[in-house]
Each structure stands twice: as structure tokens, then as C-alpha cells.
């Protein structure tokens, strides 16, 4: 679609300028990160700050090595990522399925409306202790918490998206004699794809919140557990290391979703 041949000199200059700007934005971003860590290290070494409570990059690196050689690092990362992944997937899929059900039956949608509103307003953390009592002190409780946090928002936002699909697009299919299922498949779902992607993006973040919350409350493993444990025994090295790992893992998952978005929404540009 793009015109590869006959690039004018103005166009060349423009493209070059765009590229340069992008490069310099990346440069500054990376520099800030490096500067931050260098400053942190230096400040700790020169005792401007107390590394006992702030930790410092070299100490975090050592902690990482210890955790790595004891093998527990991967247990913690693994269980957190697993819980997040399951919470995210079930919360998103379940939310979308329930939204489809409510779209299908307007009666059900109307009946469930006040319940959804209340459940949405309720801070899900408040349910934490109940969930622990019901599901025990382990992974199922954590996953349930992550799932609860994302599923209600997903239901509400997806149902909204379904109901906002252009009436005339639906009418068009009806004039062709489409069944309700065909309307769902051919218009409602594809038209709501952008909303689905943004729900995914939101849910990535929410699932992390749910999992870490859950791990704070109950777990024996996971990054959330490491953070709580570290702070209890006053080993800030462990806390900081876990937070950094968490940040990296969350970023990777987000990038994954963005990549997915680009692949799917090729008709959008």
C-alpha cells in the first residue's frame, strides 16, 4: 500500500527527522534508568542514604544470585506469573462470556444490573478474608482474588461495548435474514474487538494487583510473599529485588498484549 518508489527528498528528510526523534527519546529514557541506578548505588556507597532501609543495586544483585542458586527465585516468579496468568485468562474469558450471555438475554441483563453496579463499587480486597476462609490458604484463593478483581469490570465494559454497536449494522444483517448467533459472530464480536483489547490491557494490571494482594494475605510463595516476608525480617534487599522483578514481569506481559493488539487490529490504521 505504501509507495516505495519515488521518495522525494522532502519525504526522506521528514522520515529521517522522525527516526532521529524516536532514537533520542529512547536514548533519554535509557539514560534516566541508568542514571537512576548509578545515583542509587553512589548515594548508598557514600552513605547519603542508608542502604539497610533503601537497599542498593549491588546488594540487590547479590540477593538475586543467592535466590538464583537456591533455586527459590524461579519458584516465586513462577507461582506469581502462573497465578496472574490464570487469574487474567479466566477473568477476561469469563467476563466476556458472561457479557455475551447478558447481551443475548436483555432480561438477564436488566436483572443483573444493580448487582453488577454494587459488585463493581465494592473494593474486592474486602472479600479477601472471606475467600481465604472458603478456599483455604493457598493458590486457589489468590487466583480467585485476581479473577474477582478483573471479571466484574470486564463484564460491565464488554456489555457496554456490545450494546453500543451501531444499530444500523445490526439492521443490515437482519435485512439479510441473520440469526441472533450470526449477528453475534459477524458484527457484535468483531465490532467490539478494540474494546476487548483495551479490557485485556486493563486486566493485565488488575490481575497483578489481585495476585499481589492475595499473596500479601495468604501465600507461602510468590513475589508478593517475598515482599511481605522481606519487610517482616527487615531485609529490604529482598523487597526491592522482588519489586524490580515484578516491574519487569508486568512490563513484559503488557508488551505481549500490545503486540497482540497490533496483530489483530490491522484494519484500524
Amino acid at each position: 500500500m505504501s509507495r516505495v518508489n519515488n521518495i522525494s527528498p522532502e519525504r526522506k528528510a521528514y522520515i529521517k527527522q522522525i527516526k532521529q526523534r524516536k532514537a533520542s527519546i529512547h536514548m533519554v529514557q535509557i539514560s534516566i534508568l541508568i542514571l537512576f541506578f548509578v545515583l542509587w548505588e553512589t548515594a548508598a556507597n557514600l552513605r547519603w542514604i542508608d542502604p539497610f532501609i533503601t537497599s542498593q543495586p549491588t546488594r540487590m544483585f547479590k540477593t538475586l544470585k543467592v535466590l538464583h542458586s537456591s533455586g527459590s527465585l524461579y519458584l516465586h516468579i513462577g507461582s506469581t506469573i502462573w497465578e496472574t496468568f490464570i487469574g487474567f485468562t479466566v477473568g477476561t474469558m469469563g467476563g466476556i462470556l458472561i457479557a455475551i450471555l447478558l447481551w443475548w438475554s436483555n432480561f438477564l441483563a436488566k436483572v443483573s444490573e444493580p448487582y453488577l453496579v454494587v459488585l463493581n463499587a465494592l473494593p474486592k480486597v474486602a472479600l479477601g478474608p472471606i475467600i481465604i476462609v472458603w478456599m483455604g490458604n493457598g493458590m486457589p484463593a489468590i487466583i480467585t482474588m485476581a479473577l474477582l478483581i478483573s471479571i466484574i469490570v470486564t463484564i460491565i465494559s464488554m456489555l457496554n461495548a456490545f450494546l453500543n454497536v451501531d444499530e444500523d449494522k445490526i439492521k443490515l444483517l437482519k435485512t439479510l435474514g441473520a440469526t441472533k448467533y450470526q449477528i453475534l459472530r459477524k458484527v457484535i464480536l468483531p465490532a467490539s474487538l478494540p474494546n476487548m483489547i483495551s479490557a485485556l490491557k486493563v486486566n493485565v494490571g488488575l490481575s497483578w494487583v489481585g495476585v499481589i494482594m492475595g499473596e500479601f494475605l495468604v501465600s507461602k510463595a510468590g513475589l508478593g510473599f517475598l515482599i511481605v516476608y522481606g519487610s517482616q525480617v527487615f531485609k529490604l534487599d529482598i523487597v526491592m529485588t522482588s519489586v524490580i522483578i515484578l516491574a519487569i514481569a508486568a512490563a513484559i506481559m503488557y508488551v505481549g498484549v500490545s503486540y497482540f493488539e497490533k496483530k489483530i487490529l490491522k484494519w484500524q490504521q
Partner: protein, 251 residues
């Protein structure tokens, strides 16, 4: 003697809502012969779209009945091409929904796209096409199910005036060439006169048929754009204008 494709017989329509009852159509009857182009004009809100909805079975009339002899295709005001489908795939939505043989339908659609100058845009997304091209694609989508009768509801009103004149000419000749029968709803009296064999004038809501004009130009067999130059064009325009009784202040 003649071949009636579509007959609307004493149709009446009352809408029920929580706010109350709206009588949209009181009593409307008319018929359309094979190969004929009939326009419906009438004041805003008099029930024109409702009549088309009833004909295409989207709405059940309160009284009266519809007799359709053939397959109906409906073309809406805006093109409603699905942004997530290519032009070719958009045009195939009808055969897909109706479970027709997709291979044959694809050949048919490709032929239409080729005949009407959209071949090279077949694999483009709607966002990459101009307004006129999109409208042509929407027409091909409507034709893809091989309808005998086409219903057009303000199908050109989203276009700017220049494009509109050209697209009307185009659509008119496409429909003539493909031997279709057409029932056209429009606000534009001049457009109705230029493309129609007959014009049904409706009253204010609740609608009844006020008059049916048979359009006979001094030089028959010309295109809509050329018809606008005909000596009798102005006569029909004035007559229908009077009939519609448009009050600029009260509407």
C-alpha cells in the same frame, strides 16, 4: 398482463412504546411492476422508512399485508461497510449469512467489482476508499445476494452534492443493467423525478397515499442527470412540491 413484483396492500402501522402510541402509517397501498423504479417522497417522519422495514420483514404491520414476488435487497442510508473486513469480504456478507455457495458468490462479486471499477480495491479496507466508492461497494454488497427488488432508503444522502449526482447516475445504470426493480425513498424531489418511473407522494403522519405520479419525459430513455434538463422536469417538480405542502416555519 403486467408482472407485479411488489404490492403494498392497505398497510397500517401503530408503534407502541412506554410513552404512548404512534400511528405512523394510516393506510397505504401501491404496487411496483417488474423492472420499474418507484420513489416514495413525503414529509419527514411520515413513515417512509417504516414502509421499507415492513417490506423487508424487519417490522410486522399492524394492518394490511405485503406481497413480494422475488428476493428483496435493502440498501441503507450510510454504507455500513464493516471496517474489519476487506471490500471483497464485505460484499460477501450476504451470501455468507444466507448460506449460499460462497465460491459462486465470490465469482459473482468479483465480476461486479470488476464491472463497476472496484477491482483494484477488492482487498482494501473500507477506510481506504472515498465516499462514492464506498457507496458503490455497498450497492455491490446488496446485489451479491441476487435480489430482484432493491429497497433504497436515502441511500445517497450521506454524500456531498457533486458525488451524489454522479453516484445516482451510476447506481441507476447499474440497476438498469442488472435488470432490477427498485423502490427508492428520498427527501430530494429532484432526485426522485430524475430516476423514477413513478413517484408515490405520502401525506403527513399518519401516512396515506396523496398521489401517484407517472413520470414521462419528452425525451425518454436518458440518464438521471440528463433527465434534469428535460422540459417537463420543472412541471413535475412544482406539482410534487405543491403536493408535499412543505411549511418551512412549522417543520
Amino acid at each position: 398482463m403486467t408482472d407485479i413484483k411488489l404490492a403494498v396492500e392497505s398497510v397500517g402501522m401503530k408503534f407502541q412504546t412506554t410513552e404512548g402510541e404512534t400511528e405512523a402509517i394510516s393506510d397505504v397501498s401501491f404496487s411496483v411492476q417488474a423492472g420499474e423504479f418507484v420513489s416514495i417522497v413525503g414529509p419527514s417522519g411520515c413513515g417512509k422508512s417504516t414502509i421499507l422495514n415492513i417490506i423487508s420483514n424487519l417490522t410486522q404491520p399492524t394492518t394490511g399485508e405485503i406481497k413480494v414476488n422475488g428476493k428483496v435487497g435493502y440498501m441503507l442510508q450510510r454504507d455500513h461497510l464493516f471496517e474489519w473486513r476487506t471490500i471483497l469480504k464485505n460484499c460477501l456478507i450476504g451470501p455468507e449469512i444466507q448460506g449460499q455457495d460462497l465460491k459462486a458468490a465470490r465469482e459473482n462479486v468479483k465480476r461486479l467489482l470488476k464491472t463497476y471499477g472496484l477491482e483494484e480495491f477488492m482487498h482494501h479496507y473500507p477506510g481506504q476508499l472515498s465516499g462514492g466508492m464506498r457507496q458503490r461497494a455497498a450497492l455491490i454488497r446488496t446485489l451479491a445476494i441476487n435480489p430482484d427488488i432493491l429497497l433504497l432508503d436515502e441511500a445517497f444522502s450521506a454524500l456531498d452534492y457533486q458525488t451524489r449526482l454522479a453516484v445516482v447516475d451510476e447506481v441507476w445504470s447499474i440497476l438498469r443493467k442488472e435488470n432490477k426493480t427498485a423502490l427508492i425513498v428520498t427527501h430530494d424531489i429532484a432526485e426522485a423525478i430524475s430516476i423514477s418511473d413513478r413517484i408515490v407522494v405520502l401525506s403527513h403522519r399518519p401516512a396515506v397515499v396523496k398521489n401517484i405520479y407517472t413520470i414521462e419525459f419528452t425525451h425518454p430513455g436518458l440518464t438521471p442527470l440528463e433527465n434534469r434538463e428535460d422540459e417537463k422536469f420543472r412541471y413535475y417538480f412544482n406539482a410534487i412540491w405543491e403536493e408535499l405542502d412543505v411549511h418551512v416555519t412549522s417543520e
